[in-house]
């Protein structure tokens, strides 16, 4: 039987999609790369995922897990064809334990749905990517996703206690546990952020975070990006780790304001959105410390949200930023790199110079508090030569951040996008060590192949290369 026939027998005809439109739609995520899957399946249970994995393996066909497809690094792109396994039907919240502050959830549960479901218990799921109203917990686990509130609360890995995983041979295993420090190697922590290259997560036990007793949200306007960046470094240096510390530059503020009319100060060169949480005394004193650091750097104004509605409005401005870019140009390329927080000022200055050199329109909205930059280039891909310029600038941006002692990606992942840049961060032996981890979990190379690790990652690959000039 063909692969499609085998899978139809497992799942029924309606959950095996192989029409040309369906294959086109599942050929990419929210990044720029595109692949072409042989077919798409939508399992409902762990057993079905395991059966799909076994079937694909029997046919020697790659398998690419996919949540909502909001990823930006090409992690869910079926670049080698094969089966795209969409987890969106596995969207059941199996159990919420408000006393333990945990929940067992399916990988297809939408991030914000989980926080909404636990709101009545005074709890939420802390990782809050900008895509949180669409992205899934399974995708968050695969990419170790972040979001503004990861500054104090940590990325997804800090909030995943256990996972159920289908391995490459179709076996099912639970990693991690509800009790602290399960003896042995922490495979849970290894699987989180592995971008579907080691196994497919079919269930997750997540930690829920109590909603803070008090919240203060500040919007601070500056007459230069430098002053805003220096304030971020100053706040961290003063010993305050706010719940969130976000920056938007003038172009981004104008795009948002033009769309949503929130009353944001468009005359400012940069805005900081800072949030502190805790007891009344803590939030008041931390808010005034942040305001003081800002004032010392010539802040134009400080607005403190006086109501929950106003706070929601300010966050709406931040979280709608990427949507607002559509007014500037039909396409955008959103970068994700990290620099030490001590290097923010000089790095941002150079980021703008790179855009200028390539004559590109750049907007910035990012997690300044943890040094996680998101330079966004708005462009029209139809313009001749444009994509080449965008890519050239992209590479320079990454090189810049690495030169500053930074990292390739803070929260979007490596996927396809940065796979070939991995040697900027890791030497050959270290990449080879990562490749050996991959081989332990996936000896046949069928689990989301061609992601994360560049060709030649294995030292063996290097040795196997013919010498220059050799006939092959």
């Amino acid at each position: 039987m063909s692969l499609a026939e085998d899978l139809r027998q497992l799942l029924g005809a309606d959950r095996v999609l192989d029409g040309s439109l369906q294959r086109y739609l599942y050929g990419k995520d929210s990044g720029v790369a595109r692949g072409n899957p042989d077919l798409v399946v939508t399992p409902r249970t762990t057993e079905e995922v395991a059966a799909v994995v076994r079937t694909a393996k029997r046919h020697g066909v790659p398998i690419v897990p996919r949540g909502a497809g909001t990823g930006l690094a090409g992690g869910a792109v079926p670049i080698e064809g094969g089966v795209v396994l969409s987890t969106t039907l596995m969207n059941e919240i199996h159990e919420i334990d408000p006393v333990a502050r945990t929940a067992w959830v399916g990988p297809g549960v939408i991030n914000l749905d989980l926080s909404n479901a636990t709101r009545a218990n005074g709890l939420h799921f802390a990782p809050d990517p900008s895509s949180q109203s669409a992205c899934t917990i399974g995708g968050n686990v695969a990419n170790n996703s972040g979001g503004p509130h990861c500054l104090a609360e940590g990325s997804t890995v800090n909030h995943i206690l256990a996972i159920e995983v289908v391995l490459e041979d179709g076996s099912v295993i639970e990693l991690g546990g509800i009790a602290p420090d399960p003896p042995g190697l922490d495979l849970r922590g290894l699987l989180v952020g592995s971008e579907g290259t080691l196994g497919i997560v079919t269930k997750a036990l997540v930690k829920l975070t109590p909603n803070p007793p008090e919240v203060r949200t500040l919007l601070i306007a500056f007459d230069s990006v430098n002053a805003a960046a220096a304030t971020v470094s100053g706040v961290i240096a003063a010993g305050v780790v706010p719940a969130a510390l976000e920056m938007m530059d003038q172009r981004m503020v104008m795009a948002v304001e033009n769309w949503l009319h929130l009353g944001l100060p468009t005359e400012a060169a940069a805005l900081l959105l800072a949030e502190v949480t805790g007891t009344a005394d803590a939030v008041d004193s931390e808010a005034s410390l942040i305001a003081g650091e800002a004032a010392a750097r010539g802040a134009l104004s400080v607005r403190i949200a006086s109501s929950e509605a106003e706070r929601a409005l300010l966050w709406k401005g931040r979280k709608s930023a990427f949507g607002a870019v559509a007014q500037a140009a039909p396409d955008y390329y959103l970068h994700d790199t990290v620099v030490p927080r001590t290097r923010l000022v000089e790095t941002m200055a150079e980021v703008y110079r790179i855009a200028e050199r390539h004559d590109l329109q750049m907007l910035n909205v990012f997690h300044a508090g943890d040094g996680n930059l998101h330079p966004l280039i708005a462009f029209d891909s139809e313009a001749p030569g444009m994509l080449d310029r965008v890519h050239a600038a992209a590479e320079e941006l990454v090189q810049l951040c690495i030169r500053q002692g930074g990292a390739l990606s803070g929260e979007h992942g490596i996927g396809l996008e940065k796979r070939d840049l991995m040697p900027l961060s890791f030497d050959q032996v270290s990449l080879d060590a990562q490749a050996r981890i991959k081989d332990v979990f996936d000896p046949e190379g069928l689990m989301n192949p061609s992601k994360v690790l560049p060709e030649g990652a294995r030292c063996f690959d290097l040795a196997a290369r013919p010498p220059g000039g050799a006939w092959v």
Binding site: E174, P180, D181, V241, V338, D432, Q434
Partner: protein
Amino acid sequence: MFRPRRQTSRRCLGLSESHAELAALRQAFGASSDELTGAEAVLAPRDAGEASAALRWASRSGARVLVRGGGTHQGLGYPLDPDLVISTERLGSIVAWEPEDLTLVVEAGAPVSRVEAMLAERGQTAVMPERPGSATIGGVVSAGVSGFRRRRYGPTRDRMLEVTLVTGDGRLVTGGGRVVKNVSGYDLPRLAVGAFGSLGLVVSVCLKLWPIGESLATVTLDDPDRADLLSRPLAVLDLNGQVTAYLGGTPGEVDEQSRLCGGERRDGLVWPDDPAGTYRWSLRVPPKHTRYASGRVPNGWDRLALLGVGEIRLASASIEGHRDLRAWAEGIGGALVMVDGPDEAYADLDPWGTPPASVEIQRRLIAAFDPARVINPGRLPGRL
């Protein structure tokens, strides 16, 4: 302090060639034989290159290597009769401290107490165990232990930004990076925590730091239920029934939280010692069962429970009752781990308990880093 685990006769490595190489290494490192373990040599490499040379030799010769920092966690896991001890005592440098980025790069052999004292001068902490004794950063990381303040800041694992290690066959491998947020490749830094060197000898780590609160207080609770009213306490400890909250933050916040506790307040953080006894244990249960679990502990065992965390540190004069306690803990998804005990105890009981379901994957993963299985062989659950 380090304490001999087992005094056994030295094994003969059997390869004269290896002996010649070992002699050369000993001369290069100025090493001596180890009276504590009976190992043929203690090597104290000064850098990753020397550590690599020692481990390459060990892998070629099939020598069993014990890695030693401060020697405070040597009771954890199955015992080892090493041919070679690699001491991290000469790997004690502070490589880079960025107080304004809240990150620290430090070599494995740096003592926790020295590192924390240095950080405290700038009001920062690596949230290492609060009563470290002679423990080193590398030891805490490799043994996978955490401080009391994990209730607020998470376990040691959550501090790991970058790791540099030398694999069992001598490869120098780095994972992660020196920034507070990073998803580049597989998370080796976290994986090294609790791995007992099975992925490699940890040479250095980059840790995420936290600011220490402006005001600190230690307050007893007359009614343990009041702990639930507190907002993000650093720790709430139950020492044989006496519950104490540890608070940090702004002065007003700490005052307010102290009043909620209702008991006697002392300024600063006054941490207890771990319970002492012939046998020491770590009972791990789902956090919501921490208080209930204390009631399952056999009579006469000293206990220090980390409320809200699920870890209960125990000490006992005998092993009587440990089987029932372990069976109960494992039944609810937890574990009972023997942290230390007399040498002969390891013949009678299993220090880890039932191995995890993933033990075969773990075995293959370790083989990828330590193919000859030389660093702490057999020490991990499942005798990996």
